[in-house]
């Protein structure tokens, strides 16, 4: 009886904590939604001003919208829609590099949204540098659809549910030893294994690999971290890079854009030609 009381107390505490969290979340959501609504309104007003050739007013409206979206993100409220809309606002203000940064952030949270992909592709058409990111085979995207269609949080949630289902079936099997339950356990365990691997890869690619986008109009990639080093090549706004190292306000980056295949040594690999140093201020982190 005492154990049951302790268990009940524990469950009530947990429920109370969850309830409190949900309530706090709801309050934050209301206030966030209000700011988001106002920012969208500013953006729409800017769009209307463009249509009516009132350019100065349009710029003011877009700048105000950017301020509101940034304020919302600064308050700790994160949502794919904010990132996407902010990307649009930056694009309207002529900052395509920043727009790509926010589209990429939106893509992480809303991987199924076609509008984000469409806008990224559209922006890339105007970029000076041609990107050469290796595209994954379409069949892989179909076979591992959950990896490409779900964001990290969704995969985590599904993994938790799968784990709980597995535990529930194991628990049932402790009391009811039937063959079909054994089969269900094997199925759940296999699914869980696949999900855990997917989760690991996704978490690694999103949190361990740092990526960035060039936000300056043009940027020189140098041999070393400093102006005293000779420039190796030049890339332009919107070019995407992988940040490999940080040193004294300089980033060592691997560029995804095509680089002229100039090899002084036949043994050097292509990778080595794509690496160089760029000032921190000229790159925005995704």
């Amino acid at each position: 009886m005492r154990q049951i009381n302790i268990l009940m107390f524990f469950i009530l505490c947990l429920a109370f904590l969850c309830e409190g969290r949900v309530l706090a979340e709801a309050l934050t959501r209301d206030s966030g939604a209000d700011t988001f609504f106002r920012a969208n309104k500013e953006y729409s007003a800017g769009q209307k001003a463009i249509a009516e050739k009132r350019e100065q007013e349009a710029v003011e409206k877009f700048e105000h919208a950017v301020q509101l979206y940034e304020k919302l993100l600064g308050s700790g409220f994160v949502n794919g829609q904010i990132y996407y809309n902010l990307g649009n606002a930056y694009y309207r203000l002529g900052m395509s590099g920043k727009a790509i940064i926010y589209y990429r952030r939106a893509e992480k949270l809303l991987p199924r949204d076609a509008d984000i992909k469409a806008n990224i592709n559209l922006l890339k058409l105007d970029f000076e540098d041609k990107a050469s990111i290796r595209q994954l085979p379409e069949i892989l995207k179909i076979v591992c659809f959950w990896y490409f269609f779900l964001n990290l949080n969704e995969i985590t949630s599904i993994t938790i549910y799968m784990y709980l289902a597995l535990m529930a079936s194991i628990l049932s099997f402790v009391f009811i030893k039937v063959q079909w339950l054994r089969n269900i356990i094997i199925i759940f365990a296999s699914c869980l294994l696949v999900l855990v691997i997917s989760l690991g890869i996704k978490a690694y690619s999103q949190h361990s690999i740092e990526r960035g986008v060039v936000v300056a109009d043009e940027s020189k990639i140098r041999y070393g971290p400093g102006e005293e080093y000779e420039p190796r090549f030049e890339i332009h706004e919107g070019a995407e890079v992988r940040i490999e190292e940080k040193k004294d306000r300089w980033y060592k980056v691997y560029v995804y854009v095509d680089v002229e295949d100039f090899r002084d040594d036949e043994d050097k690999k292509e990778v080595e030609f794509r690496i160089g140093w760029i000032p921190e201020a000229e790159v925005g982190e995704i």
């Binding site: 939604a33 829609q81 806008n119």
Partner: protein
């Protein structure tokens, strides 16, 4: 006020006699419980049993405290065991209790004593029937509703009750609810467990309640609900009644099926007279709150009207309140979003439905939002009710916002064939507030939650594996089961022996004590009780590694018992207590060594 009434009720003293069975065989046992409700510092109630009822033990005292709806209920039970010696019908009780100068009298119970059925080796088909009759009294079900007549959409509380006698080991409970095709059904809270006396017998009751909302009028029948379970019976020889052998562990399962009676309900249609125009089928009792925010806006700016309907009834089907008719050009009105919350499932469905509607004033001359009204049918008052909220004053200011650009289809060129792309532009912004939530609060950012989610099920599984293995061991390994239960059984028998000391019955006492000690040794060593005698017991224990001191204690105890049983001399209570203490010490020492 309600609290005061409840408290007063809880302090009322009530004395109730209950028995575990009303028909008992001569020479068999039955239990009587005198329950005192409302006080825990009373004396033992006085009960004068019929002359031919022999007290076997008692009273054993139990106390229960329960808190229901902030009312503390105290129950104290005094349990006796009697064995009738003659057949016939006897009245047991009433019991009387003196408490703080007042005398309280209980009910009385009629006990029918029948002839004892002789034990025979052959299976008697009538005996099987007899068992079923007995089971019928020990477990039965009831289905009831709080009203027999109701209006369509009115809330009816359906209650399914399972009555089973205390101590009856039931398992695999399976409740098949009555079909409620003509109703909307909502489960009410968790199952309720309490005790109830029926025909003098104390039953444990499990109650499941459901709120039903009839969808059609006319005479509707709720078909019977069914209930299946297994009763676990342990078979043993020398049993007077099969149910005296219930042990609840490792016995044979006897399936029991029960079904309730059906219930006939008369569902009346809602009256047509005085039905308000805005009535949308809501039945129950409700209140309405309205909030408009902001109240100072520019032309075309949105005002959110939040209308909260709260009350008792079917919350899901509450119809939308309506705005009083006005000039259509005054406001642009958007469809309402609703949010339903059930706040209470205790004594019926209670909750609230929130309607959030956006209105946009279209010119500066508007100074108020029109009145809002909501109609429902109150089944208790049997009439329609309309709640009206007064118009809400607002201030509308001039706006600089231009009239939105409208695209005219007439102007578009109709081109057949391939479409020519005129411009390339990014796609518009997203404004889906429905899915707008903070995605930064991700599950993978909550390490404590994840640790709990991953560890708790593992611990539960480990605990269940352990419990299941223990249960299987008890069921399959007789020796282990006997050994595990030996101490508790011995303690129980020693407790009986202690009562015999109080009753000053030396011969019975020594006989019980010797039997207790021998049976305990037999249980610990998994031997037949008949195979252990005073002569060979020392050898058996020595072989099992029991120390000489303990064997010496045993011998002393058995010698005292033999002396007490077979000598003609008088035995004092002190001697009996001393022998009892020796036996207890022996059992405790043996427990440590075996």
């Amino acid at each position: 006020m309600l609290n005061l009434v409840s408290t007063a009720y809880a302090r009322e003293i009530k004395v109730v006699i209950s028995v575990d069975k009303t028909v008992v065989e001569a020479g068999n046992y039955f239990r009587v419980t005198i329950g005192v409700q409302g006080a825990f510092d009373t004396d033992i109630p006085k009960l004068t049993p019929p002359e031919n009822f022999t007290l076997m033990y008692g009273p054993s005292v139990s106390t229960q405290t329960s808190i229901v709806n902030n009312v503390v209920a105290v129950f104290r039970g005094f349990t006796y065991s009697f064995s009738p010696t003659e057949t016939g019908k006897f009245e047991l009780g009433p019991a009387t209790l003196e408490y703080k100068g007042n005398v309280y009298t209980s009910n009385s119970v009629e006990i029918e004593v029948v002839k004892r059925t002789p034990f025979e080796g052959d299976v008697d088909p009538d005996a099987e029937r007899g068992k079923r009759i007995d089971i019928n009294k020990r477990i039965f079900v009831e289905l009831a509703t709080d009203k027999k007549e109701a209006y369509i959409y009115e809330q009816i509380i359906e209650s399914f009750k399972l009555f089973f006698q205390r101590g009856l080991p039931i398992d695999d409970l399976d409740y098949v609810a009555a079909s409620t095709k003509s109703f909307l059904a909502e489960k009410l809270g968790e199952e309720r467990r309490y005790e109830e006396v029926r025909d003098g017998i104390l039953y444990n009751v499990i109650e499941l309640r459901t709120a039903l909302f009839p969808l059609v009028s006319g005479n509707i029948e709720i078909p019977p609900a069914k209930f299946n379970c297994n009763i676990i019976i342990r078979h043993q020889g020398f049993s007077n009644s099969i149910f005296d052998e219930f042990a609840g562990r490792g016995g044979q399962k006897y399936p029991v099926e029960r079904s309730t009676d059906s219930i006939k309900l008369k569902i009346k249609p809602l009256p047509e007279s005085d039905k308000p125009d805005n009535f949308a089928g809501t039945v129950g009792r409700f209140t309405m709150d309205v909030l408009a925010k902001p109240t100072k806006v520019k032309v075309g700016d949105p005002i959110t009207l939040t209308i909260n309907i709260r009350g008792e009834g079917n919350i899901q089907t509450i119809g939308e309140p309506v705005l009083a008719p006005g000039d259509e050009k005054d406001f642009k009105i958007y469809p309402a979003e609703t949010d339903t919350t059930i706040t209470d499932r205790g004594d019926g469905i209670k909750g609230e439905k929130l309607f959030s509607r956006v209105v946009e004033p279209q010119h500066e001359d508007i100074d108020m939002i029109p009145a809002i009204s909501f109609s429902y049918f109150d089944p208790e008052l049997e009439r329609y009710m309309t709640i009206t909220h007064n118009p809400i004053p607002i201030v509308v200011e001039h706006s600089e916002v231009e009239i939105p650009i409208r695209l005219s289809l007439e102007d578009a060129e109709k081109v057949k064939g391939q479409v020519k792309i005129l411009t390339k532009d990014i796609l518009p912004i997203m404004s889906d507030l429905y899915s707008f939530k903070n995605q930064g609060l991700a599950v993978y950012n909550r390490p404590l939650f994840l640790a709990f989610i991953f560890l708790a099920p593992i611990l539960v599984v480990i605990a269940c594996v352990y419990v299941q293995r223990y249960r299987e061991l008890l069921q399959t390994d007789v020796g282990y089961a006997r050994k595990r239960r030996a101490l508790s059984r011995a303690k129980k028998q020693l407790s009986n022996a202690r009562r015999l000391v109080q009753l000053d019955n030396p011969s019975e006492f020594y006989s019980t004590l010797a039997k207790t000690v021998m049976e305990h040794i037999a249980d610990k060593l998994n031997l037949a009780p008949a195979s252990i005698t005073s002569d060979n017991i020392s050898g058996i224990l020595e072989n099992r590694g029991v120390s000489h001191d303990v064997i010496k204690e045993l011998k002393e105890c058995l010698e005292s018992c033999d002396y007490g049983r077979f000598s003609a001399s008088q035995h004092s209570k002190d001697q009996m207590v001393s022998t009892l203490d020796t036996a207890e010490e022996f059992i405790m020492h043996l427990e440590k060594q075996l």
